[in-house]
C-alpha cells in the first residue's frame, strides 16, 4: 500500500481534452501548511487557475478532495469536498458532501483528483485501484442522478460508488449539484462546472485499504471519540432528529425566512415541526463509517404527493421550500427535495430562486404569461415541482431563473434587483440576518457567498456560551465570534469533519490528536498550529477572490436587511434591521488583519507564510 500515514501521497490529474492521466506526489510543504481536505483544495485551486478564468470554460478546473480522516474509522469525518471557480459567484467555489464517495476515492489510492479540459462528448471517469479510464456516457446523458448511479453500479458492480450530475448540470443551471446517493455537494454550482466539461459521473470501484500512521493509537482515539459522542446530548439529539427540527427554533426566534426574507416566521409553522417530520420517517442514512446516521429518509404515503421519497430532507431544504412560498406543506417539501436530488440541483439556491419568482409575481414584474400559466401566489405549493423542472430544463421563465437571482434580476429589470436575495451571487441560507446578526455577517463575509456553514454562529442560534455568550442583535461587537467560527470551520474541514460534529466535544483537542496519530506529523497536535492552518485557508480563499476582483461592497448584505425592518409575525426581534454594516466590516477587517478593501495585508500574509500568494 502506497502513501504515508493516512495520506495516499497521490493526486490523479485527468485532462479530459487530451484524455491523459498523470499521477502526482503530494508536496510536503503543502501538507505541513494546509494539512489536507479544504486546505489542499484552495491551495491547488489558487495555484492552478489562471486569473479571470471563465468558470464554464475549458480552462476552469475541478478538484475532488478527500480529508485526512476520510475512509478511516474516525466518526463524522469521511466527507469529501469539491473546489472550483464558481459559475454562480465568479469567486472560490467550495462544496462539501457526505456519503461513501470520499472514502472510495481514497481506497482507489488518491488524496484528490484534478480534472481539467473538456471531454468532446458526454463521458464518465471510471477509476479502480488498478487503473483509470474515460468512458462514453451518451447513454447516461439526460438521466436523473438516481438512475445514473443505479446503471453505473449495475455495470461496475456493488463495490462501486458514484458521484454524478443530473439534467440540471447538463443544462448548465448555475447552481447544479454533484450527487452521491442522495448526498449533495450542493453549493456554488460545482455540478455546473462538471456539466460544462461533459463529465456526467465519476465511478470508483475499490476495496477498503486505509492505513494510518499509528493504528493502535488512532483506534484508541476513535474509541474516545465514540464515547464523547455517546455522552453528548447534542449528538444524541442529532442522531434522533437530524436537522429536521431546526425550524422549530428559527420560527420561535423570528428568523425563519418567509416570503423572500420579508417575514421571520411562518404563521402555521407547527404543521411542519420536527415532530411532524417524524411521521414521514421510514429509515436512516449515513456517511461512511459514521455511527450517527443522521440522514432521515422520508416517504409520503397518500395525497397529491403520494410516493415521494427523500433520503435526507434537511433544515435548509425545509426552509427554502416552505418559507419561500409561505406554505407549511411537509409533503410538498419532501417531493421538492426528491426532485432536486434527482435533477441535481442545490436546494437552497433553487428554493431561493423560486421564492424570488413568487415575489416578482406578487409585484407584477412577472405574470402568468411568463410562467406558462403557473400561479405563483403565496401558499400555492403545487407550482414548486413544475418550477423546479422549468429551471432544470431551462424552459420559459426557468431559463432566466437558472442563472441565479443576481443574473435573473438583471434580465427581468423593472426593479427586480431590489428583491434578489443573494450575497456575492449565491442565494441565502435559512436564517434572516436581521435577527441572527453574527450568522448574517458570517454569510456576508464568506468567501463562497451566502453559506450558513462557512462559520455557523452556534452562539446566537443555540445559545452556546463558548468562547463567550453573545446577543443575536449585536453587530460589530461580535466580529471576533464570526472570525473564530470561520477559522475553526476551515480547520474542521481539513479532516474533513462533519459540520454538525463541531460541538460534540472532540473538536479541536481530540481532533488534533487524531491528526497526529493519522499522519505522524507532530505539529498537528498543537491546537494553535492547527488553528493557524484554518486561518491560512480562509486567507488564501480571500486572496483567490481578491485576484478575481473582489471588493469591499461584495461583503455587504442585501439592501433589504439594512433598510426594511424585520416583521417577525409576533416572534421576538420584531423591527430589527442591520444598522452598522460598515462598522461591522471595519471591525472584521481590522481583526482579520485585512485592509479597508478587504484584502489580506502584507503583515498578515507574512504571519501566515503566504507572502508568495500576495504578489498581484
Amino acid at each position: 500500500m502506497r502513501g504515508f500515514g493516512a495520506y495516499k501521497d497521490r493526486a490523479l490529474r485527468i485532462n479530459l481534452t487530451a484524455r491523459i492521466f498523470t499521477e502526482e506526489a503530494l508536496d510536503r510543504d503543502v501538507i505541513h501548511n494546509f494539512i489536507g481536505g479544504r486546505g489542499f483544495g484552495i491551495y491547488n485551486l489558487y495555484k492552478e487557475l489562471t486569473p479571470n478564468t471563465e468558470p464554464l470554460s475549458e480552462s476552469n478546473k475541478l478538484f475532488f478532495v478527500t480529508g485526512v480522516f476520510t475512509g478511516t474509522s474516525a466518526q463524522a469525518a469521511s466527507r469529501w469536498i469539491v473546489f472550483t471557480k464558481s459559475p454562480l459567484t465568479g469567486y472560490v467555489g467550495r462544496s462539501v458532501a457526505g456519503g461513501d464517495f470520499g472514502a472510495w476515492l481514497k481506497f482507489a489510492g488518491y488524496d484528490y483528483l484534478i480534472i481539467e479540459g473538456k471531454a468532446s462528448r458526454p463521458s464518465y471517469l471510471y477509476i479502480t485501484s488498478e487503473g483509470y479510464e474515460i468512458r462514453d456516457a451518451e447513454d447516461l446523458w439526460g438521466k436523473g442522478t438516481k438512475e445514473t448511479q443505479e446503471r453505473l453500479t449495475e455495470r461496475h458492480g456493488k463495490n462501486t460508488r458514484v458521484a454524478c450530475i443530473g439534467p440540471a448540470g447538463e443544462h448548465l443551471v448555475r447552481y447544479a449539484a454533484i450527487m452521491t446517493k442522495e448526498r449533495a455537494a450542493g453549493r456554488c454550482g460545482v455540478g455546473t462546472v462538471m456539466g460544462s466539461k461533459n463529465l456526467k459521473a465519476i465511478a470508483i470501484n475499490a476495496r477498503r485499504n486505509i492505513a494510518v500512521y499509528e493504528p493502535e493509537a488512532f483506534s484508541e482515539l476513535v474509541k474516545e471519540q465514540i464515547k464523547m459522542f455517546n455522552n453528548n446530548k447534542t449528538c444524541q439529539h442529532h442522531k434522533a432528529m437530524g436537522t429536521t427540527d431546526t425550524q422549530d427554533v428559527t420560527n420561535s426566534f423570528g428568523i425563519f425566512p418567509t416570503r423572500n426574507f420579508r417575514y421571520g416566521r411562518l404563521i402555521d409553522w407547527q404543521k411542519m415541526s420536527g415532530q411532524e417530520y417524524l411521521k414521514y420517517k421510514i429509515g436512516n442514512d449515513g456517511c461512511y463509517n459514521c455511527s450517527i446516521r443522521c440522514g432521515h429518509i422520508h416517504y409520503v404515503r397518500e395525497g397529491p404527493y403520494a410516493g415521494s421519497r427523500s433520503g435526507g430532507t434537511e433544515y435548509e431544504t425545509i426552509c427554502l421550500f416552505t418559507g419561500s412560498v409561505d406554505s407549511s406543506n411537509v409533503e410538498a417539501t419532501i417531493a421538492s427535495n426528491q426532485i432536486c436530488n434527482d435533477m441535481g440541483l442545490d436546494t437552497i439556491s433553487t428554493g431561493g430562486c423560486i421564492g424570488f419568482a413568487y415575489e416578482l409575481y406578487e409585484k407584477g414584474i412577472i405574470s402568468k404569461n411568463d410562467t406558462d400559466g403557473l400561479e405563483l401566489t403565496y401558499g400555492n405549493h403545487a407550482a414548486i415541482a413544475a418550477m423546479i423542472k422549468k429551471i432544470t430544463y431551462r424552459q420559459g421563465v426557468g431559463d432566466i431563473l437558472a442563472e441565479g437571482t443576481m443574473r435573473a434580476a438583471r434580465a427581468f429589470g423593472r426593479g427586480a434587483e431590489n428583491f434578489a436575495m443573494h450575497i456575492k451571487g449565491m442565494e441565502i441560507s435559512g436564517y434572516d440576518p436581521r435577527g441572527a446578526k453574527a450568522q448574517g455577517f458570517n454569510m456576508a463575509t464568506s468567501n463562497i457567498g451566502a453559506s450558513h456553514n462557512y462559520g455557523y454562529a452556534v452562539q446566537e442560534i443555540f445559545g452556546v456560551p463558548f468562547p463567550r455568550p453573545i446577543s443575536r442583535f449585536d453587530e460589530e461587537e461580535n466580529a471576533d465570534i464570526v472570525i473564530g467560527n470561520q477559522n475553526t470551520k476551515a480547520l474542521l474541514e481539513v479532516g474533513i469533519g462533519c459540520e454538525f460534529s463541531q460541538g460534540w466535544e472532540w473538536f479541536p483537542v481530540l481532533f488534533c490528536k487524531m491528526l497526529v496519530a493519522a499522519t505522524g506529523i507532530q505539529e498537528f497536535g498543537d491546537v494553535n498550529y492547527a488553528m493557524k492552518a484554518g486561518e491560512r485557508i480562509i486567507n488564501l480563499e480571500r486572496l483567490f477572490n481578491v485576484r478575481e476582483g473582489l471588493q469591499r461592497k461584495d461583503d455587504y448584505l442585501p439592501k433589504r436587511f439594512l433598510e426594511e425592518p424585520l416583521d417577525t409575525r409576533g416572534a421576538p426581534g420584531n423591527g430589527q434591521v442591520v444598522k452598522h454594516m460598515d462598522k461591522f466590516i471595519d471591525r472584521y477587517y481590522e481583526l482579520r488583519g485585512w485592509t479597508a478593501e478587504g484584502h489580506p495585508s502584507r503583515q498578515k500574509l507574512a504571519e501566515l507564510g503566504l507572502q508568495e500568494f500576495g504578489c498581484f
Partner: protein, 94 residues
C-alpha cells in the same frame, strides 16, 4: 440532602422574552433540577420551553454547569455555591 446554596442561572436569549428580558438570576438549590424549578417558579412561562408535559427536560435542551455539559442525568446533577448554569439548545446546525 446537601445544603441549599446560591447558583447563577444565565437565561438564554431564546427565553428572555419570557423573563422580562432578565438575563441572569440567582437561585438556591442543590441540584440542576432544583435550580431550574426555581427559575420556572419565578418565570412560569419558561416551563414549557424547558420541560415536556411529564416534567422531563426536553430532548433539545442542554444544561452546562460551569461551561461543562451536565448530560446525562442533568436534573440530578449536584451543584455548589458559585456554580454557573447555562441553558443551551441541543441542536447541531441546520
Amino acid at each position: 440532602m446537601s445544603a441549599e446554596v446560591g447558583i447563577t442561572v444565565n437565561i438564554p436569549q431564546f427565553i428572555q422574552h419570557l423573563t422580562n428580558n432578565t438575563k441572569s438570576v440567582e437561585v438556591i438549590g442543590s441540584t440542576v433540577g432544583e435550580c431550574l424549578e426555581k427559575v420556572c417558579l419565578r418565570f412560569p412561562q419558561t416551563k414549557d420551553s424547558l420541560f415536556d408535559k411529564d416534567g422531563v427536560l426536553k430532548a433539545n435542551i442542554l444544561i452546562y454547569v460551569n461551561r461543562k455539559s451536565a448530560y446525562p442525568n442533568e436534573l440530578g446533577r449536584p451543584v455548589k455555591e458559585g456554580d454557573i448554569l447555562d441553558i443551551v439548545i441541543a441542536l447541531a446546525g441546520g
